[in-house]
């Protein structure tokens, strides 16, 4: 037994009791409800509708992750090179948004994005558009709403990585004749990859299971898995099917995580520098 194992015991019991047991119960229900067998999995994997919902889920999570990285990178870079007093104020503002109720923020986006909302009204008033842009009840609405919620989870690990990069490397690149674009592509980007990978994974996995924002800002044709599971559990009371769907999502997520571990390395994938 490795040294210090005894000290880990309470944590292990906790993890087993609150994480492993429920997941096993979920698995059990997915192959026993309403009767024993794999018919729930056969239904989910054999039906075009469920395949579409799975596809939507991964599409939305991917789009959200990519857009979040693109928006978060400049912000994180700015935070990393800012004087620290100013940076802590900006940090405060970003963190503050995380403390505001999720539902309130999502409803606020509804008010902004809808056809009669602030954005469309303003654009129409100044004559830029004549008919309202479809910003809500579609993929655009879901992406905007979710990127906004996910940004802090991307910015925070990224700032840590960027701050750890020695600024002299960039100066050295410039001295050797690299253009700013080259310096970015060949120095800054590779060095910040661990942060991008850590934040990206977190955003992607959180997006996979998101419920409220897609339900309110998306249309029914962008339905994601979490909403479908909620329907199965709450409205249809088909717990076997809901459990199977949840378990498939879990397996796919774990597979992606394993893949990332292999590609980036364990320490880097979890943001350890």
């Amino acid at each position: 037994m490795p040294a210090g194992f005894g000290g880990l015991l309470p944590a292990l019991i906790l993890v087993t009791l609150f994480f492993v047991v429920p997941v096993l119960a979920l698995l059990l229900r997915s192959v026993t409800g309403p009767e024993p067998g794999f018919q729930n999995y056969a239904t989910l994997l054999g039906d075009g509708t469920y395949a579409r919902v799975f596809f939507n889920t991964f599409l939305v999570a991917s789009v959200v992750t990519i857009v979040t990285v693109l928006v978060a990178f400049p912000v994180a870079w700015m935070l990393a090179i800012m004087p620290s007093a100013l940076a802590s104020i900006v940090f405060g503002v970003i963190i503050l948004s995380m403390w505001t109720n999720l539902l309130t923020r999502t409803y606020a986006w509804m008010v902004l994005l809808q056809r009669t909302g602030v954005i469309n009204r303003t654009l129409m008033d100044i004559g830029l558009i004549s008919t309202p842009l479809p910003l809500i009840n579609n993929l655009t609405g879901v992406t905007i709403g979710m990127v906004y919620i996910m940004l802090p989870f991307m910015i925070l690990p990224l700032v840590g990585t960027l701050r750890a990069i020695d600024p002299m490397t960039l100066r050295a690149a410039a001295l050797c004749g690299a253009s700013p674009f080259d310096a970015f592509c060949r120095i800054l980007l590779p060095l910040s990859l661990p942060g991008i990978a850590a934040g990206g994974l977190m955003v992607f996995v959180m997006s996979l299971g998101y419920f409220v924002t897609p339900a309110l800002l998306g249309g029914t044709s962008n339905m994601m898995l979490a909403e479908m599971i909620a329907q199965m559990i709450q409205s249809l009371l088909n717990w076997g099917l809901g459990s199977a769907a949840a378990f498939i999502l879990l397996v796919v997520t774990m597979a992606l995580y394993a893949l990332q571990l292999r590609l980036v390395g364990a320490g880097r994938a979890t943001g350890g520098v």
Binding site: V53, N56, Q114, N137, Q231, L236, L237, W239
Partner: protein
């Protein structure tokens, strides 16, 4: 340390003991549950000394979980009637003790062995007068994109209502609705699908119509009533209004079954029903209630629009709930 723990435990036990007579009422929240609290729970508590704790929103998954695990915290729950019929069949509900709940004056349409009516409502066609030119006359107009272009709103979940509306708009006579021709209904709905905005809850439906985000739609009459009371400029057509009901049920194994039955008696009494109907605009399920209401309040009830009124078939829905839901969500996700 141990002493403190024992003390806390003893305190908790004492607290639960004191609460044994209290009961929990669960409903959908919002203006409806507020009216239920004022019309039923408060007078009941004042008369009996039994405290009625409010919980919500109603969640069928939670109800099943409570019954399955044998730890039932809800004593009376407001549910949709088609769910109640199905849940009774699945063994999730206590039978109603009609010795404690007087049955004579209850509308038989909304009373079963396992449920007492809560209220009944109509789906009506409502519109924002500022967002639409002309007045839609009936369900067929919701499918007429030439006459009424723009967004329209329907109830999002698989439930009695939208399928029937599509069939009526397609020319199916009211007495030939059931069994539902789903193929035909979805084909009709396909013609306007891209212009449908779905509402998932009462507040959302009000917001969509009041803001003009959707010019018109299928709403619960009580929500239109509340919009009118707030001074919103809305129009309403009662042509072929579709009735459905909420009922009150007692989950199997509820801790305060006897208290729950007493509460049901109070809630379904003429006085309780009259008060709730006046506050909500939903119709009473006690046939004596209207006599206790002010005349102008009676005018805004579904009861005042029985001409051409259609009763959604709750038994048909209870029977086919899951099969329809599967098709419904598959169609929506397409």
């Amino acid at each position: 340390m141990k002493l403190i723990f024992t003390g806390i435990l003893a305190g908790l036990l004492a607290a639960t003991a004191a609460k044994a007579e209290d009961m929990v009422f669960t409903s959908w929240g919002g203006t409806t549950q507020e009216a239920q609290t004022k019309s039923w729970a408060e007078p009941f508590a004042a008369a009996s000394g039994i405290k009625v704790l409010q919980d919500g929103p109603t969640d069928y998954g939670k109800l099943k979980a409570m019954v399955d695990s044998g730890s039932v915290n809800w004593d009376v729950v407001d549910v949709e009637m088609d769910f109640a019929i199905k849940a009774a069949k699945d063994g999730l509900l206590e039978p109603i003790d009609f010795k404690a709940v007087p049955k004579a004056d209850l509308d038989p349409r909304f009373t079963t062995d396992h449920a007492v009516g809560s209220f009944y409502y109509s789906f009506v066609l409502a519109w924002n007068k500022g967002a639409i030119s002309g007045e839609p006359a009936g369900w067929a107009d919701m499918f007429d994109e030439k006459k009424f272009p723009g967004k329209r709103t329907f109830y999002k979940w698989s439930a009695p209502g939208v399928i029937e509306i599509a069939l009526l708009a397609d020319g199916v006579p009211a007495d030939k609705l059931y069994p539902l021709d789903l193929e035909r209904a979805f084909k009709k709905l396909d013609t306007i699908k891209s212009d449908i905005v779905w509402w998932g809850g009462g507040a959302e439906s009000q917001q969509l119509i009041a803001s003009g985000e959707a010019a018109f739609g299928q709403l619960w009459n009580g929500r239109v009533f509340a919009l009118e009371k707030d001074g919103a400029d809305v129009g309403v057509s009662w042509s072929q209004n579709l009735t459905a009901a909420d009922v009150l049920v007692v989950p199997k194994g509820a801790k305060n079954k006897e208290t729950a039955m007493k509460f049901l008696a109070a809630a379904s009494s003429a006085a309780g029903q009259a008060k709730f109907a006046e506050a909500s605009g939903y119709a009473p399920i006690n046939t004596k209630a209207k006599a206790e209401m002010p005349a102008d309040a009676v005018k805004s009830l579904p009861d005042a629009h029985v001409d051409g009124q259609i009763n959604l078939d709750m038994n048909y829905w209870a029977e086919n709930r899951d099969a329809i839901a599967e098709r419904w969500y598959a169609w929506q996700a397409k």
